[in-house]
């Protein structure tokens, strides 16, 4: 139980540190998706899901030779509440960790799809505004000719 408590505490410390050290994973989305709430939500979900996943890494690094049974059953609750993934009643940590990683990867891919489209949209908007300005100029020029 002590090892589980220890890993949980280390993970909490890491979470706080990410915020106070201006970690890229946190601060980049904050600016990049400032005006795109849908992408912002996806980025937030991706970040906190990663945080849950890092519990597994912390355990493997610090207690590689201990049985993870208690740890795993404790973490299940976090996985369910934060990463939004159903409980699986087995002792296979590898499966869970893999599944979570897949989710994070797919979220990131989705975000990229959104970002690519935003860039296209912004380019189109720019073109449109430019066309309007050119139109005004042309209209004024033709008026003057008369």
């Amino acid at each position: 139980m002590m090892s589980t408590l220890h890993v949980l505490k280390m993970a909490r410390e890491k979470l706080l540190f990410d915020f106070t050290s201006k970690n890229h994973d946190v601060y980049l989305p904050m600016f990049k998706y400032e005006n795109q709430p849908v992408l912002m939500d996806l980025a937030i979900e991706s970040f906190f899901t990663s945080w849950v996943n890092c519990h597994f890494q912390l355990w493997d690094e610090n207690y590689p030779h201990q049985s993870g049974k208690l740890f795993y059953s404790a973490i299940k609750l976090l996985i369910q509440q934060i990463a939004n993934i159903d409980e699986i009643n087995s002792s296979n940590q590898g499966f869970y960790s893999n599944l979570i990683s897949s989710k994070i990867r797919l979220l990131e891919e989705l975000i990229q799809v959104g970002v690519r489209d935003s860039e296209k949209y912004n380019d189109l908007l720019l073109e449109y505004e430019k066309d309007k300005v050119l139109f005004e100029r042309e209209m004024n020029r033709l008026k003057e000719d008369v």
């Binding site: 408590l5 106070t20 609750l77 976090l78």
Partner: protein
């Protein structure tokens, strides 16, 4: 007069009622036995009771001593978690807010992220608290079980 003495007197009287003896001599004899040995018997039984009681208590105290360190330890962890929780809300959050402000993050964006931070952090704290509480309850259950078992052993030994 203790129960033992009452019992003894009764049995003596029953015994002597079947003996062919002078009535006054009988009474004198019973009284003599009562006077001579009464105290000794009383004291003896009392000592015996005290000894058994002491044995019960000693076992129980040994049990408590055995668990003393664990009990103290569990209490320490609980206390640490409480402190961590307080520190989070009074210090850590302020530091995070300040960092976000200094980095010029939009305040609406900042508040959404902070909300998730608080949510996740407290869920983790609750999980830790829950684990140690469960452990403490299990420990108390263990102590009770052992105490019951040892009380039974003492009883059986002294029957």
């Amino acid at each position: 007069m203790t129960d033992v003495m009452t019992e003894l007197t009764k049995e003596l009287s029953e015994f002597f009622s079947e003996v062919e003896m002078d009535e006054n001599a009988k009474i004198a004899l019973v009284q003599y036995i009562h006077a001579k040995f009464g105290n000794a018997i009383d004291t003896s039984f009392l000592q015996e009771k005290l000894r058994i009681l002491y044995e019960y208590e000693k076992n129980y105290l040994d049990l408590i001593k055995e668990y003393k360190d664990e009990i103290k330890f569990a209490a320490t962890i609980q206390e640490d978690l409480r402190k961590e929780r307080t520190k989070f809300f009074s210090e850590a959050l302020k530091e995070v807010s300040a960092t976000l402000k200094e980095a010029q993050v939009d305040s609406n964006v900042a508040s959404v992220w902070i909300k998730e931070l608080v949510d996740s952090y407290t869920k983790s704290l609750n999980l830790s608290s829950g684990l140690i509480e469960e452990h403490t309850i299990d420990m108390i259950g263990e102590i009770r079980q052992k105490a019951k078992k040892e009380a039974k052993e003492v009883k059986e030994k002294n029957e």
